[in-house]
């Protein structure tokens, strides 16, 4: 084990919250500059928010701080001393911890194993009885809990996110970076988690740098805010002095916010019908069962629910990733098996959750990924020889139209920022004729300008006569977009109400599984 990296001969860092500062941080990927001359200071015991559009360079900045990337130029000061961080291990030795945007838990290990092995001082021989006792004592002192014996692969996204934060607290980090920590949590869960983190800041135990797209969280929990745009620091200030409008203006500069599209058109014929569809849930122990669900043309049906209540499985059944155990799925009155040919002939399009995993080939290029729907089509017919030029031209148009920030269209899609992967997939799925659109958390991880733009596109598809089935953990989104709202709880649809008559309290009640 190497000793922690500090200036030669220096005293150890003082206990408690750390001060962290970047000075003129610049990061280039080849010829592309993701970060240019960024200086941010997080004072000890403060909660600092980092705002910016998708692809602004937020994740890049924090990865440079954590030693995941090596900045092209610039310096890092920890506790007012220059720190040379070669890899995340050095950062951790200094007491800096990070919750990454993409989960970094080990799927096949249990929660307890994940926690113990993440500790730098994990013993060579692990005495599980002792560790269990320690973990349980630690969990008991936390405001939220995660089952210790479950393999992480079995946890829902929300639970994983909680575990990521718990892990950092368990490791005793004194400077915590959170990269969009609440994107998979319900507002209540988010408040609970951030409230606890905020409490630790106030107690002087940790300093926090949080990346977020939610102004509400900035106002409620942060002390200071920094704003990035196209890799540059464009604004900074005390949260108390700034309004949401001012922060938004800093984020997008001169660009205009889009207005929501008005609804028009009439509800048409049933497009998607589910009757008695059953499937195993992700644990294989329980079952999801959808008695009856119909989505008509020209209608958006929103399914609200807390993550892990069967939405993911329902989505997988509809996309053909999970076999149904029974029941019937019909599209335009015809039984539907979710093959590519069927999806193509009925113009069914999907945006599943975690699109990088469920809707992309991560190592193939952005151009190829965008061409998945059309690469073998030649007008109405099929083609055998692909046309690289057409694929490139079509991808270029869509990248422009959906404002996907891509450094290199021939590079792997996995190199895009989280929000830009989402945009690229949406660009692909919303292009061409769309009769049925099945989407899950379409605005996950998008900045607010992108959110209103994407929502406008969804409403536009509906106005053009598409049937839309929307599953979202964001209740506001469901209420804003839907014509009809359903609630899914414990694998079943437990409530249905026209959006005009929907009451948040009532829906929340059913979401929590307290159906009468």
């Amino acid at each position: 084990m190497r000793p922690p990296v500090t200036a030669i001969g220096a005293d150890p860092l003082p206990p408690g919250a750390l001060e962290v500062e970047t000075v003129g941080m610049t990061m280039r990927f080849g010829s592309f500059t993701a970060l240019e001359d960024v200086s941010i200071r997080v004072a000890p015991g403060t909660f600092h928010a980092l705002l910016g559009e998708n692809g602004a360079g937020k994740s890049t900045l924090v990865k440079c701080i954590m030693g995941f990337y090596h900045a092209t130029a610039g310096q890092l000061m920890v506790g007012r001393r220059e720190a040379e961080i070669a890899d995340p291990r050095d950062a951790r030795a200094l007491g800096m911890g990070m919750v990454y945007q993409h989960f970094t838990l080990v799927p096949s290990l249990t929660v307890a194993e994940n926690l113990v092995i993440s500790r730098a001082d994990a013993p060579v021989v692990i005495d599980w009885a002792k560790e269990r006792a320690g973990l349980e004592a630690f969990m008991a002192a936390m405001p939220f809990r995660v089952p210790l014996d479950q393999p992480v692969a079995r946890l829902a996204a929300g639970e994983k996110q909680k575990l990521e934060i718990l892990k950092q607290l368990y490791l005793g980090s004194r400077f915590l970076i959170l990269d969009e920590p609440t994107s998979v949590l319900t507002p209540d869960e988010a408040d609970e988690v951030l409230g606890h983190v905020r409490g630790l800041c106030e107690a002087g135990e940790i300093s926090v740098l949080m990346i977020t797209h939610k102004f509400r969280e900035v106002t409620a929990f942060a002390d200071e805010v920094s704003v990035l745009r196209r890799g540059r620091l464009v604004g900074q200030g005390h949260v108390a002095d700034l309004s949401h409008a001012q922060m938004a203006a800093m984020m997008i500069g001169a660009e205009k916010e889009q207005r929501p599209v008005a609804r028009s058109g009439l509800r048409g014929a049933p497009m998607l019908e589910l009757r008695g569809v059953k499937a195993a849930d992700r644990s294989g122990l329980k079952e999801i069962a959808v008695e009856s669900l119909t989505v008509h043309a020209g209608e958006i049906v929103g399914i609200a629910g807390i993550s892990g209540n069967g939405q993911m499985e329902l989505m997988e059944v509809l996309t053909g990733q999970r076999a149904a155990r029974g029941g019937e799925i019909r599209v335009q009155g015809v039984p539907y098996g979710a093959t590519r040919a069927e999806a193509q002939s009925h113009a069914v399009r999907y945006l599943p959750e975690e699109p990088l995993r469920n809707a992309c080939a991560p190592r193939m290029s952005v151009i190829e990924n965008i061409a998945f729907r059309s690469f073998d089509r030649n007008g109405a017919g099929r083609r055998f020889w692909l046309s690289a030029n057409e694929m490139r031209a079509a991808a270029r148009d869509l990248i422009g139209a959906f404002k996907v920030k891509v450094a290199d269209p021939d590079g792997p899609i996995a190199a895009l920022s989280g929000g830009n992967v989402q945009r690229a997939v949406l660009a692909r799925e919303l292009t061409g004729e769309v009769k049925l659109l099945v989407i899950s958390n379409p605005c996950f991880g998008l900045d607010f300008a992108a959110v209103s733009e994407i929502r406008a596109r969804i409403v536009a598809a509906r106005n053009a006569g598409a049937a839309v089935l929307l599953m979202s953990e964001d209740l506001d989104e469901v209420l804003e977009l839907s014509d009809r709202v359903l609630v899914m709880s414990e694998g079943r649809i437990t409530y249905e109400v026209p959006a005009a008559e929907a009451k948040i309290a009532e829906i929340g009640h059913y979401m929590g599984g307290h159906a009468a």
Partner: protein, 307 residues
């Protein structure tokens, strides 16, 4: 045959055969399991096995000590694993292709260096006569258990415990399941994978030494009948669990002993079909336990064949 056991001879011979035949398979599959748990696949273990057989035999001939042979076979295996691991640590290198190259290299080198050792006779590895209580020679033969078989059982148990309850074990699983998570923890996946491959190679080397120093107990170029490759299938079949590797190896060994056993009780027709039993069995089990709906349960997330 003075003791005529009739058909009872068949299960006895199968038991004895299972113990004898399974040992090298057990070692190779434990080695392969370790390698795959780190997120790489080493198809070169067949070559390592053959080279280990040669190196062990040669050392035993020269020194007169079979244990020195086992030790050297393990060392040679570790070197082969290390080479595989180091090459695979380079960018854009495919572990399967390197594995096949290492397999050919291992057998080629073994044949080249092994030529002078086909004639000389090496001392055998000792075995423990657990059948002392019986008068029946077949029982005594079946229960004449080699020390390495017991060492294999111990290794499987130790690995089972180690993967669960030691830091190196957990780190190995982390690296095998998620490179991203490992890097976020500050681990160096390439280094850990290389070490796991080297250790896996050592296991395969020991398996080879068993072949030449106990059963069949001589060095020749046809010493391995593909055990090194079967081990790869066995690891999948065993769902990457060390104790399952033991049962799988035993089952495979028992199935392999079926043909000779039938022949020994005087079945003259069709027994050769049973020589294919282990392969048919492996295929059957793999098909029966697979499912189109879920990924192989227990497969390490970074493994190139299951990703």
């Amino acid at each position: 045959m003075e003791n005529d056991l009739g058909w009872w001879a068949v299960p006895l011979a199968v038991l004895g055969g299972a113990i004898r035949v399974s040992t090298p398979i057990l070692f190779v599959s434990l080695g392969e399991m370790l390698t795959e748990r780190s997120g790489r696949i080493n198809l070169g273990l067949e070559g390592t096995l053959v080279f280990g057989a040669m190196a062990g035999y040669a050392t035993a001939v020269i020194t007169g000590d079979p244990w020195a042979g086992v030790l050297l076979a393990a060392l040679a295996g570790a070197v082969f694993g290390l080479v595989h691991g180091l090459i695979c640590s380079m960018a854009r290198v495919n572990d399967i292709a390197i594995g096949i190259a290492m397999m050919l290299l291992g057998t080629g080198l073994a044949f080249y260096f092994g030529k002078p050792f086909i004639q000389p006779v090496a001392p055998d590895l000792p075995s423990i006569p657990f059948g002392w209580w019986s008068e029946v020679p077949q029982v005594q033969a079946a229960l004449n258990v080699n020390v390495l078989f017991l060492a294999g059982i111990a290794a499987a148990l130790v690995l089972h415990w180690g993967l669960r309850s030691t830091r190196p074990g957990l780190i190995l699983r982390v690296v095998g399941d998620s490179t991203d998570a490992a890097r976020a923890m500050g681990l160096r996946p390439a280094v850990i994978r290389t070490m796991a491959t080297a250790l896996g190679g050592a296991f395969a080397g020991v398996g080879g030494a068993y072949l030449s120093l106990f059963y069949p107990g001589s060095w020749n170029e046809g010493i391995s009948s593909g055990q090194g490759l079967m081990a790869v299938a066995l690891v999948i079949f065993a769902r990457w669990q060390p104790v399952n590797c033991f049962w799988a190896a035993l089952l495979f060994g028992g199935a392999g002993a079926l043909g000779p056993a039938l022949q020994s009780v005087g079945v003259t027709e069709g027994y050769y079909l049973f020589y294919a039993a282990p392969y048919v069995l492996t295929l059957g089990v793999l098909i029966a336990t697979s499912s189109p709906n879920r990924a192989l349960a227990g497969a390490p997330g970074e493994l190139s064949i299951t990703k």
